[in-house]
Amino acid sequence: MTVQITQVILNGVLLGGLYAAMAAGFSLVWGVLNIINIMQGSAVVLGSYAAYFAWRYTGLNPLLAIAVAGPLLFGVGWVLQRFLIQRVVAAPVLITLVFTFGLDLVLNNAMISFFSADYRKIEGVFPTAPLTFGALTLPVDRLLAAVVGIGAAFALHLYLHKSRLGRAIVAVRMDRQTAELMGVRVELIYAMTFGLGLAMAGIAGCLLAAIFPTSPLNSAHYLHIAFVACVLGGLGSVLGAVAGGLLLGIVESLGSLFVGAEYGTTVAAVILLLMLFTRPQGLMGRAGYE
């Protein structure tokens, strides 16, 4: 039983690494722009397609396809924010939520039209034999994807706290008016932030494409994961999103073991509710932050 639980926790950590990458960008956009980006799941799927087609036509490893999908999604995010979302960014959160919901419908249905709803899978890139440690096994593809996912989230955290532009983003998140008075160009920061959020989605998409099949139908599931991990970890905190993602992965895995495979997500939802009752700011968020 101990081996089984250890294996399940390991499975959860590997899964959580992917969740962390999905949640980091979502959390950043929510924290800085106060926008619940419903399009995040579809953006992850778009990143997966970028990785899939890069592999299909050039044989590029999906982990290296990050170099393509990240900038591509950054550009998409930047343009969307600058020319569309900017028009409603000051509106109440419900308006921006509905707006990104509409964008999600457009993007998702466009992907169904262009790529069809069929599942596409990247194959033969990683060794199929897992690493074994006694009775424990670690699939190579999941291990690499989890490490890169957590690494990307940490890189984003470092960028926000060490670079000049990153510190400007943090400043806008903390106090938009003051940042503006200090000479920060808020519109540019918003576009930059939305671009970074979607770039993280693109990176997460590449990692997921390395393991799971890709289809536009996955987008709602990915959005759900990003949302729960983000709220568990705490809004606006990239490290919180990492913690939330890891926690969600472990809770889902243990829930699946102890309650049943079909209830893994339900257990995670119950944990989310408990967290909202007892610590609404999440694991690493600040109380009162909206």
Binding site: N109, D118, N218, S253, L257, G260, E262
Partner: protein, 398 residues
Amino acid sequence: MQRRELLVGMAATLVAPAIVRAQGAEELRIGAPLPLTGPLAPEGQKQKRGYDLWVKEVEKSGGFQIGDRRVPVRIIFSDYQSATPRAVQACDQLVTQQRVHALFSPFGSGAAKASSAIAERYRVPMIAPTASSREVYDQGFKYLFGTFTPNETLTEPLGDMVLAKAPTIKRVAIFSRNDLLPLALSAEMKKSAAKRNLELVFDEKFAIGSLDFASALTQMRGANPEWVFVGGYVNDLVQVRTQMRDLGLKPQVLTMIAGPAYEEFTQALHAAAENISSAAWWHPAVRYEGVDIFGRTESFVQKFQAMYSAVPDYIEASAAAAGAILQLAARKAGSLEGPALRDALASLDVMTFYGPISFGPTGQVERLLPPVFQIQGGKPVVLAPSSIAQGELRLGIA
């Protein structure tokens, strides 16, 4: 001016149904609600491909024969976006507004059952090409006909075959997608296992849309099953098999329904697909000499490959068969009237490219023998029925 436009509009409204009815004498209209978007889109597209191929063949042959005359055929598709209530609405609209002469049911047992009441109410024959559950046909309806045999016709031959090959097998694990067909198949598998005194050591469901099965499979590995049965669709089954390999879970027999029937299953798994056993209502390896428009099974497969550059699976074949069966019934009935078509369908007893077709008292096809097959050397090899067997069951997986 406004009054004139109003009068023209009213006149058009009154005349339009008459025009539609007048057109009705010119062609056969079949209503086909399909899940062309949403989660069931892959299955909906497969169904559509079968219909489209049949229509193309009918057009090539000069039209649809009714008695001694020929008329063009038109399928009116309606996308119900994978939502069953919309499928029922679509059926209603197809009958009342489009005045279709027959219906092909929506995908799967649930949607077919829900929409069959529309066919019954308006006395329009409905052929269900993808509904297998007995509950669909136990409603006492007279206008519903199905081309899939009941689910136990898939699990029972598998049970016989596995125990004949490996009589020492005792421990069975069942893992199923929480969805109509996979659950129904798992329920039948449980009955088949109990009938043979096999011990059920693991019995779990997974949620629709799940991508990660590692925890459940870790638990299954702990139960040490000798025969694993997984019910789901191709995407689920590819993931389950991949993650079984990652966790070193190697039962003597691995049965998966319904993914291995699809070509994309073996393409996705390569060596990991080897020795996976399955069953489906039809397989390209079957050999029948039909009296329908496609004739021999090989001829159907060739025509399908020429049109789509792919090998047909059981959904595509069953959808094409629905058209071919309707065609045979209309020729016999000599009429497109619902009751006449219905009576002709009910009394049909013919051989088709799909297999022998005769409908039982509930409307479900009864003489068809679903083939059991196993992936061997990267290809599906038919193991049963013995008349078309190409090989024997192999034990063990990679």
